[in-house]
């Protein structure tokens, strides 16, 4: 589960560009943007992402690839691994809200969630990352020094700390490492 805001696009592009094609875990992303239509963002990210980038639809099953929350809707993860949407009130002025996504993922998948907080000028994602950590999931935060806007990563760190604080390229490496070791364990 990835949360990004101001300055997060650059971080996200690096991260998505550094993953392996074999990375089969869904990358669900909330990006704070102004317009309701995210098709521009989808194609922009798609250009440099190794994995396919799509908008998440209500009722659709999570699958490998990058999924983006639609504009002006909250995105949630159900226990049956499907996407759900909501137009409930903004949370900390945000809709989609990173906290809403992270908290629903933590509730639905507990220790099987990895939360990633990237650059941003607010504190969305801090509570959500704390929920992921509390449920036994992995918390990764972009190194504030590498972030265009360090506020969001700092807020997350202040709230609940992290399992690792990394630059976007190293975040990708860490995700890849988690995925690869999980595959190895399975054999």
């Amino acid at each position: 589960m990835i949360g990004a805001s101001a300055g997060g696009l650059a971080a996200l592009r690096v991260l998505l560009g550094a993953l392996d094609l074999r990375f089969a875990w869904p990358l669900v992303t909330v990006m704070h943007i102004a317009e309701p239509d995210i098709s521009g963002l989808v194609s922009l990210l798609g250009r440099t992402s190794v994995l396919p980038v799509r908008e998440a639809h209500s009722g659709e099953a999570l699958a490998a690839g990058v999924w983006l929350a639609p504009g002006n809707y909250h995105l949630l993860i159900e226990r049956d691994a499907k996407f759900a949407l909501s137009v409930d009130a903004r949370v900390a002025h945000a809709r989609p809200s990173i906290d809403v996504l992270f908290e629903s993922a933590a509730d639905s998948f507990a220790a099987r969630v990895i939360g990633v907080v990237l650059s941003g000028a607010n504190d969305d994602g801090a509570r959500g990352l704390a929920a992921i950590r509390a449920a036994g999931g992995l918390a990764l935060v972009q190194d504030p020094d590498s972030a265009e806007e360090p506020t969001m990563p700092r807020a997350a760190l202040q709230r609940c700390g992290a399992d690792a604080i990394l630059t976007p390229a190293l975040l990708a490496a860490r995700l890849q490492h988690e995925f690869d070791s999980c595959q190895t364990r399975k054999r």
Binding site: E78, A84, S86, E103, S104, S108
Partner: protein, 288 residues
């Protein structure tokens, strides 16, 4: 071992259904859980069990609880392009009917109904239209009946109105009242606000157009299918169904009752496919 909060949520939903007849058991769980926890926080309670206690022992809290669990406040002309599409694609067809029935399901505080009323009026269709605006929340209906919007929203609404193809000035349709804007009576005359619950109630009208925007996203797929079947039964052949822009009938139109007309506006048309024999029977109760 089942999670305590899961058990508490089930018990709360059970209490709501058994005591008051509101059935949330088929709602999408993630958003419902969030709303229930929001209520726990709102009342400064420690857990959902305490909310259940409040629900059962403080009946006066029910309307507020239902209000928080149902469709939230919307905006006027939300997704203006959709209203523009309704004007250009649907209204001309509506014009061919001597009498028009429109059902707006999940009217919340009325923003969408007023938007519709204004556009119908500008298209010269309002006089022969009857709008049924339904919601399951008594609070929402009360507010909707007032015909009030907050004055601070006017600028945003006026912008939406313009993009929806509004021909005049939005504020012309309202009277200023202590920080609120009240919709002109002439535009509320042909609107009936009534309690109706998509989870439990049946058809009550035959409409040419049904709007149900950003309501189905809160339902599990089985309840979505129920609602869609209900809409199919409530529409004339060739009638229109308009959902929220990010909604679709992909997972809920089992009988092929609808054809997609405009994906961006989530606009569908009732096809000729007959319905299966068993359909919901109970009638809604119109609130006075």
């Amino acid at each position: 071992m089942a999670r305590r909060e899961d058990i508490e949520l089930d018990l709360f939903i059970g209490a709501l259904k058994r005591r008051y007849g509101y059935d949330f058991s088929d709602y999408a769980q993630a958003s419902l859980r969030r709303r229930v926890l929001g209520l726990v926080s709102h009342y400064q309670l420690a857990n959902i069990s305490q909310l259940t206690e409040k629900l059962l022992h403080d009946e006066a809290a029910l309307p507020d609880i239902i209000a928080q669990l149902s469709v939230p406040v919307s905006e006027m002309f939300r997704d203006p392009e959709v209203f523009a599409t309704l004007r250009s694609e649907v209204f001309p067809v509506l014009a061919s009917y001597p009498l028009i029935n429109i059902w707006q399901a999940g009217c919340a505080r009325g923003e969408e109904v007023y938007s519709l009323a204004i556009l119908l009026h500008e298209a010269g269709l309002y006089e022969r239209t009857q709008i049924y605006a339904t919601d399951m929340s008594p609070r929402a209906l009360e507010a909707a009946r007032e015909g009030i919007v907050p004055a601070r929203e006017l600028r945003q609404y006026a912008e939406h109105y313009r993009r929806a193809g509004g021909q005049h000035t939005l504020s012309d349709y309202f009277h200023a009242r202590y920080g609120h804007l009240k919709l002109d009576d002439s535009l509320r005359r042909n609107v009936v606000f009534a309690a109706h619950n998509l989870a439990t109630d049946g058809p009550f009208c035959e409409a040419q157009l049904i709007l149900c925007r950003n309501v189905l996203i809160y339902f599990r797929s089985s309840l979505q299918r129920r609602a869609v079947a209900l809409f199919a039964e409530s529409l004339v052949r060739g009638g229109w169904l308009c959902l929220g822009t990010k909604e679709s009938l992909r997972f809920s139109d089992e009988t092929g009752s609808f054809t997609l007309v405009d994906a961006a506006s989530a606009l569908y048309r009732r096809s000729g496919a007959p319905l299966p024999l068993s359909t919901p029977a109970a009638k809604p109760h119109a609130a006075s």
